[in-house]
């Protein structure tokens, strides 16, 4: 199987063959013969020759995975080739949603439906854990709608506003 991954911002191609519990991997002409064990959820143990590595994988926002290996952090995102074209079209979409990054309470609504907005300008302030966080517009445009009011409780990933 072939895979494409973005690791710490760089794209790599992997070719992965499994047989009899062993795995042969080729990444940019580097070849690995690996045995893998899965001792607990989110943990992958690699036997590479006589070397042992343990990769701890945690799901991160935006379909990324954060991986800790020998104390070092790696951020990896798998690129789905089938969906890439569709994804590209989607990002052309002129509408973008502002999502609540975490559950919390709307303490201020800075702009109203119809207002012009610049990229990086704050639209809504959400408070969680005694910290106030400004949710900013990802692009220049105007606010098609603002879906929350001051005092509202919001859940993580709830749509706060839509920018066009």
């Amino acid at each position: 199987m072939k895979y494409e991954a973005e690791i710490n911002g760089q794209t790599v191609h992997l070719e992965l063959e499994e047989k009899d519990g062993r795995m042969d991997v080729v990444i940019a002409e580097r070849r690995y013969a690996i045995e893998v064990a899965h001792p607990e959820a989110g943990v992958y143990q690699f036997f590479v020759g006589d070397k042992i590595y343990e990769a701890r994988v945690v799901n991160a926002p935006h379909q990324a995975m954060e991986i800790q290996l020998r104390g070092q952090p790696f951020t990896v995102r798998l690129i789905d080739r089938k969906h890439r074209r569709a994804g590209a079209e989607h990002s052309d979409d002129s509408q973008q949603q502002l999502l609540a990054p975490m559950p919390g309470k709307v303490v201020r609504v800075l702009l109203n439906t119809g207002d012009e907005v610049k990229a990086g300008q704050g639209v809504v302030i959400v408070e969680a854990m005694k910290m106030q966080n400004e949710i900013k517009s990802p692009k220049d445009g105007h606010l098609l709608e603002v879906r929350v009011n001051e005092g509202d409780t919001v859940t993580g990933n709830q749509v706060l506003a839509v920018v066009e």
Binding site: Y3, A5, Y32, M102
Partner: protein, 510 residues
């Protein structure tokens, strides 16, 4: 000695105090809000009293409800921990009037040291060095300009009732002072309901070093070394250590003596901390006093071998200090990391939610003061501090190595935490050398190298780094396959036996 103590707090500090109670054969009583019914501090207590709705204004900040809870459970004393009501003089008075003991300083000392301007006057009266500036709130921009010209720019405007960096403004020159004054006043009013601001000389690249004090009701006041607290983000401490890499025996003695004098002048009893700014020439200046136990107290405990919470309880019960100044000496070095539910990859955005997994480090010299557990859902209503993780070793250099080792063992998933941030800090050369000031974290975050491969020293190191990156990519592929398989397995019988799942996982090899 008390038979029962009510802990007027939540999270890791409530757990810390409950542990001390257990060790002293005192029965701990917890209080909780709607959001904390199954919180760790409630689970560990003997009794627990429900206070009210989740927001702290309806629960942990309700002094009357807390005093009623103590009465109802026949607790003799209240430990306020830190935050919430711990520095509220009105609460301290109410506790006393209710015939209960507050495990903390007398209300009068709390009042005197609670306002920054009156604390500054007290420090001056005790002969302690203070940062040049005013002791009284400033009435007008003209007055601010006059004082600033006198002591020289840059200067710092600060809220008199402030803390946590709010209402603070650095002013570099005369042109900026007018707008800075107005903004500092409005921020101070919004945050502390008190617009009073004062002005101090701005110390360039200072270190923030504090002295731990312990005082009993018989006039014994002892200092327990210093803590280095220069590693701060937005004026909030993130890493603390004891001793400070720059404080020698002579400076420690001078700072300790100055701190003891200030505490005596304030009639201080129980645990307290005097914060100083130390400049590059090792001049120190009084900053403020914290009239409570501090978050970072464990590093002092590890290096002095004294249990500050036990001592607090003994002193509040009317016993003399169990040690004198000559009994206090520092052994080795300890470092603490504050593990917050925040996402360091996304500007430290709060990250409440379900903790799916926790694995704490073990082995020599580690201490984890945590308030959470696997399966607990971190609520959105409170401070994001999850745990304080500390290490101790014979020397600072060894403590840094031990910290790196232990942080690599520490796992927490489900929510985002500051653990990856600490793993990066502990690998920073300036941190390892003890070479930093209060601006370190901001500079570190700006220059942080997100591609470790680029920093590898030679070809072998480069190759090893490349192998790690490749294995990380492989792990990502395996993990996404496992997750996809789990989604398929999850239907329709979502609650399949874990043994069956395990059996299948063991069979499925990659």
């Amino acid at each position: 000695m008390f038979k029962k103590i009510l802990i007027a707090n939540r999270g890791e500090i409530a757990v810390r105090i409950i542990r001390a109670c257990r060790e002293m054969s005192i029965s701990p009583v917890a209080v909780y809000s709607d959001a904390d019914r199954t919180a760790l501090h409630v689970r560990l207590a003997d009794q627990a009293v429900h206070l009210g709705a989740a927001p702290s204004s309806e629960s942990y900040l309700c002094g009357d409800k807390i005093i009623a809870a103590a009465k109802q459970t026949s607790a003799e004393a209240i430990h306020p921990g830190y935050g919430f009501l711990s520095e509220n003089a009105a609460f301290a008075e109410a506790v006393e009037q209710a015939g209960l003991v507050l495990i903390g300083p007398p209300a009068a000392a709390m009042k005197m040291m609670g306002s920054k301007t009156s604390a500054r006057r007290a420090a001056l009266a005790a002969g302690a060095p203070v940062v040049p500036g005013t002791t009284a709130p400033i009435a007008s921009v003209e007055e601010a300009i006059n004082i600033a010209e006198e002591i020289g720019y840059p200067v710092m405007l600060k809220a008199a009732s402030g803390g946590g960096g709010k209402g603070m403004r650095r002013v570099g020159c005369r042109d900026d002072i007018s707008s800075a004054f107005t903004m500092a006043q409005s921020e101070a009013l919004a945050s502390f309901k008190d617009a009073a601001v004062y002005l101090e000389k701005y110390i360039e690249r200072p270190r923030h070093i504090e002295i731990q004090l312990m005082a009993d009701q018989f006039g014994n006041t002892v200092y327990l070394g210093e803590r280095e607290c220069s590693l701060q983000r937005r004026h909030q401490k993130v890493v603390e250590e004891c001793p400070s890499p720059v404080v020698d025996e002579e400076l420690r003695h001078r700072m300790g003596e100055a701190a003891v004098k200030i505490a005596r002048a304030a009639g201080y009893v129980n645990a307290g901390t005097i914060e100083f700014l130390v400049d590059s020439q090792k001049n120190f200046y009084f900053l403020e006093m914290n009239t409570r136990l501090q978050v970072e107290h464990p590093v002092t405990e590890m290096v002095t071998g004294r249990d500050l919470v036990h001592e607090q309880i003994r002193v509040a019960a009317g016993q003399p200090l169990s040690f004198s100044q000559t009994d206090v000496w520092l052994r080795g070095a300890a470092i603490e990391c504050r593990i917050y539910a925040e996402d360091p990859e996304h500007n430290f955005m709060p990250s409440p939610g379900l903790i799916k997994k926790i694995k704490t480090p073990a082995g020599p010299g580690v201490r984890d003061d945590s308030g959470v557990y696997e399966g607990w859902e971190v609520p959105v209503f409170y401070d994001s501090l999850l745990a304080k993780f500390c290490v101790w070793a014979e020397t600072r250099a060894l403590a840094v190595k031990r910290l790196a080792r232990a942080l690599d063992e520490y796992e927490m998933s489900g929510i985002r935490t500051t653990l990856p941030f600490f793993r990066a800090i502990v690998r920073n050369e300036d941190f390892q050398q003890g070479n930093f000031d209060t601006g370190f974290i901001d500079r570190f975050l700006q220059t942080q190298n997100h591609n470790p491969a680029a920093s590898a020293a030679d070809d072998d190191a480069m190759a090893a780094q490349q192998e790690l990156a490749d294995l990380a990519a492989i792990a990502a592929v395996l993990h996404s396959k496992t997750t996809a398989q789990q989604h398929r397995d999850a239907t329709p019988q979502a609650t399949e036996s874990r043994w069956k799942t395990y059996g299948r996982m063991a069979q499925r090899r990659f």
